[in-house]
């Protein structure tokens, strides 16, 4: 069973000619089939955790370990992490001019699966997945994220999630900027992946709204660069009612 283990993870970032520690000892274990929600106020380091796990060059790991099935994730390049089974659905996916969605998806699937998908089944697979996400077929011929609306970008991220079937999916504020309809469609996509039982899900969010659609097994409160409280779904209800104030008081910088 695939397990992502994060132990005492410390991460810094260079900003304004100074080194700033953002993650200050994160411990978390995500097993295949589990869904963990990480919730926290702005600036708590949630997104830094997501991008550090994916290997973004802006972040420097200064301590701790991350393993996937015992393999050292931190020693892997960005693409190796993806091929090992880590997937990051980004909050702000970038435009790639001149690269069509269909070319991008196929190149990516070929890399992650280790062989080019058979053309006939692939076309059908993409088409069916796009239909379920209410994406127009013309989408495939557009350039990656170019001129996409916020909702289209997120659907495109979830389309990739469903096609790549990762062992661990990190969803970085996938709910932000979505209207209720789009949120429901995107959540259904995430749930389809969860229901396979093959994927561990790390759902990073600022709001409890998405948890009405995606029911987490565990909820963690993130503040000041680490997890400050963990519990079951009931913790989300508490946050819904009380907000993050209890966690941000006491000198934790936002």
């Amino acid at each position: 069973m695939a397990t992502l283990e994060i132990r005492d993870l410390h991460v810094t970032v260079e900003a304004d000619n100074a080194t700033k520690e953002i993650l200050k000892g994160v411990d978390l274990t995500v097993k295949q089939g589990e869904t963990h929600a990480i919730m926290g106020p702005n600036g708590s380091g949630k997104s830094t955790l997501a991008y550090s796990l994916a290997g973004h060059p802006k972040y420097t790991v200064t301590g701790g370990t991350v393993t996937l099935d015992g393999e050292d994730v931190l020693a892997m390049s960005v693409d190796e992490r993806a091929r090992a089974g880590l997937f990051l659905a980004m909050q702000y996916p970038v435009e790639v001019p001149g690269v069509s969605v269909s070319n991008f998806l196929r190149t990516s699937a070929t890399a992650v699966r280790g062989e080019a998908p058979k053309l006939r089944t692939w076309v059908k697979e993409v088409k069916e997945n796009m239909e379920r996400l209410h994406m127009d077929p013309s989408f495939a011929e557009r350039n990656v994220n170019e001129g996409f609306s916020g909702g289209e970008k997120k659907r495109h991220e979830i389309l990739q999630l469903e096609l790549l079937k990762p062992q661990v999916a990190i969803l970085d504020e996938t709910d932000s900027g979505l209207d209720v309809d789009a949120l429901r469609i995107v959540s259904e996509g995430v749930n389809r992946v969860r229901e396979t039982g093959e994927t561990g899900t790390l759902l990073i969010t600022h709001y409890t709204r998405i948890l009405r659609y995606i029911k987490p097994d565990f909820v963690h409160v993130f503040s000041g660069g680490r997890i400050v409280e963990s519990g079951g779904p009931e913790l989300a209800d508490k946050l819904e009612n009380e907000g993050y104030e209890a966690y941000t008081k006491g000198g934790v910088s936002a």
Binding site: A54, G55, H56, P57, S77, V78, D79, R81, A82, R83, F87, L88, M90, P93, V94, E95, V96, P97, G98, V99, N103, F104, T107, S108, A111, V112, N143, Q160, L164
Partner: protein, 393 residues
Amino acid sequence: MAEQNIPVGSTTAGSIAVAAESTVATRMSAPPSYDVADFPVPHGREEEWRFTPLERLRGLHDGTAVATGEGLKVVVEAPEGVTVENVGRDDARLGKAGTPVDRVAAQAYSAFEQASVVTVPKETVLTEPIRIAVHGEGGTAFGHQVIELGAFAEALVVIDHTGDAVLAANIDYVLGDGAKLTVVSVQDWDDKAVHVAQHNALVGRDASFKSVVVTFGGDVVRLHPRVSYTGPGGEAELFGLYFTDAGQHQEHRLLVDHNTPHCRSHVVYKGALQGEGAHAVWIGDVLIEAKAEGTDTYEMNRNLVLTDGSRVDSVPNLEIETGEIVGAGHASTTGRFDDEQLFYLMARGIPEHEARRLVVRGFFAELVQQIGVPDIEERLLVKIEEELEAAVA
């Protein structure tokens, strides 16, 4: 793309001059002339020479370059119905499309011995391209080429430059009324070649001229594509693609002279640079003369800097003498390879070299698709792949 990100040591300057004192004409060191003696030997600080490494021109600029008589082969293959002639200097058809504007072009005009004239008779619509193969075998040469289309004739001309040579040349494209000419000029020289040329297009009434300039090779390539019109309704599309490698100087200096009302011009040049000392220069001058009412023009230059150590100078310049126009605009951007794009693609399992290829291919694909000649498009994409292989290997 991170287009606001201008590499250190590069310039991206733009100007729109309205009856300004400094114009294209006043900035040149001498008025246009067919005679090399009318131009002083450049020393490098002149406006039209300031980006060019004169010491690498092998004497084309100062009169010391001497034609070797051999070492450059030109083979013209033309379909039936096309006339191909070699003519002497006094042939009346030479030099009609434009006058040399700098010393090297005037040197070429003053020194060539024979010119090649390719004529497509009026109303002749070619289905096969005219192919001109220019292959250097180490020689120095001065050339003159004329391509003339009669009224309503249509043709595609592919000019291929390969091998090693020192070449200064002028090319005249003369389009009769309603004619359609597409010219693809590929500079795929060996590393040591020096090529300086002026391309003059004279676009007839309701005629369409499309120029595709593709520069991959050479030590120094400096091209001067120029367009003017003889009647209203003329259209010019100037597309360019360059891939400047370490140590190469590739300079494209365009001028569209809207000297006639109701003409259109559209310029798109895109370049990628990689390696120490790669230097790309793009000058885009567009003049809209007072009489050129109803002009519609747009010019764009985009550069993608793949590695440190390369330099781009991009200078779009629009001079407008009448406000009675349909549109006039320009854009110039120079960006580094975007790390966020690379991260996004790699985060989907795509290895770095393949991700870079995707991005660069994407950068050029848009332009290549506008060429409208499928086998040329295919060939360019293959060539871009090869350049990228060399780059990322």
